[in-house]
Amino acid sequence: MKKRLIVLVIALVIIIAGLVMIFTKGFNLGDEYGKYTMVNIYMTDPSNIEDVRQIADEVIDGDFTVSYTDEFNDTASIKVKSITDEQVSSLKEKLKAKYSFEDVENNVIAINVPSANLYDLVKVYIAPIIIALALSLIYFVIAFRKLGIVKALFTPIITVVGIVALYISIIAIFRIAITEYLIPIGILLFILTLLGNAIYLKSQK
């Protein structure tokens, strides 16, 4: 009982800290979903990406990534968190000199990609999670009515909501970058917690 209370208090502290972080600093949207600039270089022939990387390295101060955007290796993309207009112009000049672009404005295009709305990333999962949780709760109440409705209903609600809230709080507190991997992990936790409740309530029965 005492151990359970300690775990509960720790969990509550983490969730409160997470909420504070979310409301004060928000989430770390990372490279994929945060704001960034994409400089696309349309080369006439397949080219060595290392040359592009070297030129970008001479112009850009901060971190950046360079990759091919297509399978023909004739379009490279520089992804950078922030870049000034002067740096873009300098990049264009150097790339023009390297690849002899006749129309550099069409060969090198900088695109400012806005940040994603977090709700857009998770909205498709909200309905199935709520429906699955609601149906599971109905089943728990019917199947484990002998344990009492309070236990059959509130144990799954508290554990599922608690685990998901803990997961979100940890992401917020440790400034873990939001990537496409985090949502499937959240789904995994949701499913395992619901299944865990079925096992726990059965053992109590």
Binding site: T69, D70, P184
Partner: protein, 458 residues
Amino acid sequence: MKNKLKLLFYILIIVLISIIAFVGVYTSKTQFRDNALPKYSLSSEFTGKRITYLQVDDSTSDVIKDKDGKIVDSIPEDANKDDYTTEKVPVNSEEVLNSDNYKKMKEILDNRLEQFGTEYYLVKVDDQTGDIVVELEDNNSTDTLIQNSVQKGDFSIIDSETKEVLLDRSHIVKASVVYGNNESGAVVVYLQITFDEEGKEKLAEITRNYVETEETEDSESEENHKHVSIIFSGTTMLTTGFKSEITNGELTLSMGTATSNSALYQYISNASIYSVLLNNPEFPITYKVTTSEYINSNINQNIIYFAVGAIVLVCAIVVIYLIAKYKTNGLICSLGIVLEIAMLLILIRYTSTVISLGTLAALLVLVLLEAYCLMKVLNKIKENESYESVANATIKTYLDMIDLIVIFLIIAIVFTFMKEVAVYSIGMTLFYGIISIAIANLVFVRGMLLAKYNTKND
């Protein structure tokens, strides 16, 4: 001897299914050796996506006015050019360029893409500049989808000669796709536009004034050449007159008469596009598509190997634990895990279940569920190693786990019936996974455990 053969038979089948699933069946029907199994369907997370960049149109258009200040299409050839003035007017006025309209743009795009049935989309908007980036899955229909989604969506009925706007989209209540059969039995697809009360009256008036009448020898009526043009997204959809007055406020436009299924599909698809665009507001701002290109997936081969490696590692830990704790029975059950995964992979291929990152998470859930189930079976046998115990252990375990299975099926079915690929791929994997587990355990694991028990007691 008979039981040993039985055991060997089960093991051979498991090996065979595993080879088919993990290695493939290679045939040389062409000059290359191809895997006869269907290919895995991968989600855009793995294959890459199309990124389309939309920018506020900052161009200007020429507005020609005559000496009375009336806007005209062009200066007539025989007219005095001094009587006309040409003004450069921005396509988007300053007033419309604000963050509220940028947000509205995103909302309209989101709704359009959802109603077009797009499986994956993400619309990002910059509230300050209005720049929009649309991420879509890349396939054969992506170009058409982009083309349809970024249409302004304006609609009006105008006089084809004077260009006077007779009815605009502010009176539209809804647009829907309807079908009917003509005299020859062919299916005619219509776009039906329903107007509000004011629109209904206006439509009745238009159709009264623009009724097509033909001159006949025995009547005094004259041919009516007055036509209306129906303008959609800046282009003339059709120019027509009306056969009779429309009093019910419903304008029904024929999209085509289908004589084949493919034509029918095409007409329905075209009508649906118009209906989606008319059921959503028109764009408050005119945008231009700057670039639209395919971007390779962020998830490289190493990350896939890592994810698959993690699942293999979990399997390996389970297998080692089962063998260490339950010896030969544990080894037999480990084969059950291998078989479950092998059967699931074959089912995923044949049912075209899309593999997403969520699918990998579902696969992990299935491995853990199978491990839990097998441990319960093995515990039952360990408690009482009699023929009845071995024969009934699997079935009894399933009955014991009925609550777990019901919850599992609830999740699987709810997720399967969602329309988003990221969600239904998880549901389908869970569903086929539980089938694989049932077959692996009830047929193979049970059979092998019984054969092993009988061999030992022969």
